[in-house]
Symmetry: C2
Subunit: 141 residues, 2 copies
Amino acid sequence: MTPLSYTDADIVALLGTHGIQVTSQRVLIAQLLFQGMTHLSADDVHRLANAGGQQVSKATVYNTLGLLTEKGVIRQVIADPGRVFYDPNTKPHHHFFDVDTGKLSDIDASGVEINGLPSLPTGTRLEGVDVIVRLRSTKHS
Amino acid sequence: MTPLSYTDADIVALLGTHGIQVTSQRVLIAQLLFQGMTHLSADDVHRLANAGGQQVSKATVYNTLGLLTEKGVIRQVIADPGRVFYDPNTKPHHHFFDVDTGKLSDIDASGVEINGLPSLPTGTRLEGVDVIVRLRSTKHS
DNA sequence: CTTAATGCAAAGGCTTTGCAGAGAC
DNA sequence: GTCTCTGCAAAGCCTTTGCATTAAG
C-alpha cells in the first residue's frame, strides 16, 4: 500500500538529523509510524512494538512519542477526546475523523484554502492550524 | 461583558424546546454555560455549580453535559488532550486554543471561508468542521 | 566511568458505570 | 405508583511520575 519504505538506516538518519540519540526502542517506534504512515495512538504503538518480538515498556512509548513530537519528527492529532494520535506526516494537512469508528484519515492541504481568519491575539504566536472534519458513518436510517 | 442575559424561564424554555426534562440541576448547569457564553470543562461546571450554594454531583454534571450535547443545546470542543470543553455557542464558529494556558476563545465564522475540502468518503455524512488555531504565548525569547 | 534511556509499578487526571435513594409526573 | 434523575463510590481509560536497572558514549 505504501510506496515509501524506510530502512533502519533511514530512521537512524532521521533521528540524528533531529538531534535525538538513537536507541533500539526509538528506532522501532519511529519505524512503526513511518512504515505505514498511519495515525497511531500510544496504545497502538505499544501493542505493535511488543507484537514484533521486541519488548518496549509503556513508559518508553510515551517518552519516545513525546520526544519525537517535541523534536518535530512527528506531530499530535487531537481529534478524539481521551486519546491522542501521532502522525508521521508533518507537512501541512488536515483530517477526517469518523466519530463512530474513531478512525482518522488525511486530507491533503494542497487544495484546501482557509481565508478570513482574524489576526492572532496580541502576545501570542501561531503554533498551527488544525482542521478536523467530523464524520458519521451512514447506517441504519 | 455579555449583553445577553438568560433568566430561569429562558433556560427552562430552552430545555423544553429540545425535549429535555427540566430539573434544578439541569437548569443550573445550562445557566452556568449560557450566562457567560464561555467554554467550560466538566470540572469547571462542577466547581461553579457547587460554589453557588447548590450541590451537584460529578455524575450529574457529566450526565447533563452529555445530554445537552446530544440534544444539540451545547457542543463539545476537542482541543486540549485530556479535557473536553463545552460550548454554549452552537452557531458555526472556530477557536483559538492557547497551548500554554489551555484557554479557548472564539473565532467568528462569518469572515472565515474554507475552500477545497475534498468530498466525504462514501458511507459517511458530515457531522461538523472544527478549526482550531493553536497559539503559544509569546514570552521569554 | 558518567550520563542518559528504559522498565516497572504506582499514582494522577478525566470520564463512565452501577445501583440505591430521591424526585418528577 | 411508575419512570426518570441524582448522588455516591468504585472502576476504567489514558497518561505521567519516581526510582532502580540497564544501556550508550
